[in-house]
Symmetry: C2
Subunit: 227 residues, 2 copies
Amino acid sequence: MRSYHEYCAVAKALDVVGERWTLLIVRELLTRGACRYTDLRAGLPGIATNLLATRLRELEETGVIEREEAPPPVATTLFRLTPRGQALRPVLDALAGWGVPLMREAGDEDAFRAQWLAFPVRTFLSDKSPGEPPVTIGVRADGEAAVIEAGGGTVTIRTGEPGDPDASLDGPPQVVMAVLSGRLSPEDAGAKGLRWAGSRAVLDRVLPSGQAVAMADLAPDHGGEDR
Amino acid sequence: MRSYHEYCAVAKALDVVGERWTLLIVRELLTRGACRYTDLRAGLPGIATNLLATRLRELEETGVIEREEAPPPVATTLFRLTPRGQALRPVLDALAGWGVPLMREAGDEDAFRAQWLAFPVRTFLSDKSPGEPPVTIGVRADGEAAVIEAGGGTVTIRTGEPGDPDASLDGPPQVVMAVLSGRLSPEDAGAKGLRWAGSRAVLDRVLPSGQAVAMADLAPDHGGEDR
DNA sequence: CCGGATCCGGGTTGATACTG
DNA sequence: CAGTATCAACCCGGATCCGG
């Protein structure tokens, strides 16, 4: 493991989690919980398998993750974050917040996984009607499915198919992102490929206000053609 | 510039600032303000000069920094963060917070620069007597000098020699860090090489309480021999 | 001195194949 | 399923050189 050899808190942190792929492995374990080797590979398209093995070994040595050998019925290895690893959440949150403005451009060959919506959802969505009964919103993009659950003042997201959602969104990842971040209303997004169904009130309950989208002026410069 | 090709906020952020040295360049510009090429090299011991040039060009292209050609009297190039680059501060803060527990071990050949104290100071120090007149504390470690200024409820740090400080700390970087983070009292640090002078009350005004040092249980495991 | 550019050796990464 | 083995390509670090 290469080190910067600097007595600096930032450099010391980057010595441990600054190498390529490392923070994305942490992202997967934060958003999906304990994972098998194969699950991690699926969530990290493009990673070489030997590199994943090397990173997992390093992360184990530095106390960020631990591996658990599941007993015979399942007979598989699970990787999970230690408390020290979970303490990286603020780092991922900050990076995701800074990265959101970069998601306006698509990148033709960008892969997409439903669990990657977790950070934007944490940042942008809130339950504005904590008193009312909980609701679920199905989200679908690029064949990936997730369920947003709002109730009691909190909003969570998990991957998978919704049972019987109160509302649903379906469209290209960038358009779904634009709606979840409040940059586009569901109506305006219709022209860009979004299909939505169910209760509009349920969407209003969790989506950002639409107006107060901060950070816009800190975004990299754009023509603003899709406003 | 290599990309992960993932439509994920974290991955997009790391596409821009995830390469080696990049976030440390941002650290230098955040803690020292606009810098010359040579200043940056001094604050990034070990960086290859071609790599610094490459990173600066990439950061300029991505809108994180901008270069300013100073007019003839100085006739030099200054690199400074754009607002978009300054928006990386929460990322650096989070990384520094996570990295502080790693600073208990020294690393024999670790370089040290006074400006690297800035993040721990922001995290740990506070002005507990906002009403009283401002005070200054001189800090010296490894030949590097900095001045902590507390007053009006805020604590700042800058590099350089103090004029006539109300208190001063001098010792090995790890011991100074232990005192600034509240892990050691100035008295206990004496046995480890700290020399301090001036008003103890001034130190108490800004140093952490000594007891409530959080994060200790999230630190990588240690014998705890220096408690 | 300042702000790089160029060259080279070695280490890291990425793609593929293979294995218990 | 959970990796290891191999190898080419690329990136990084160190040294040197060079135009203002």
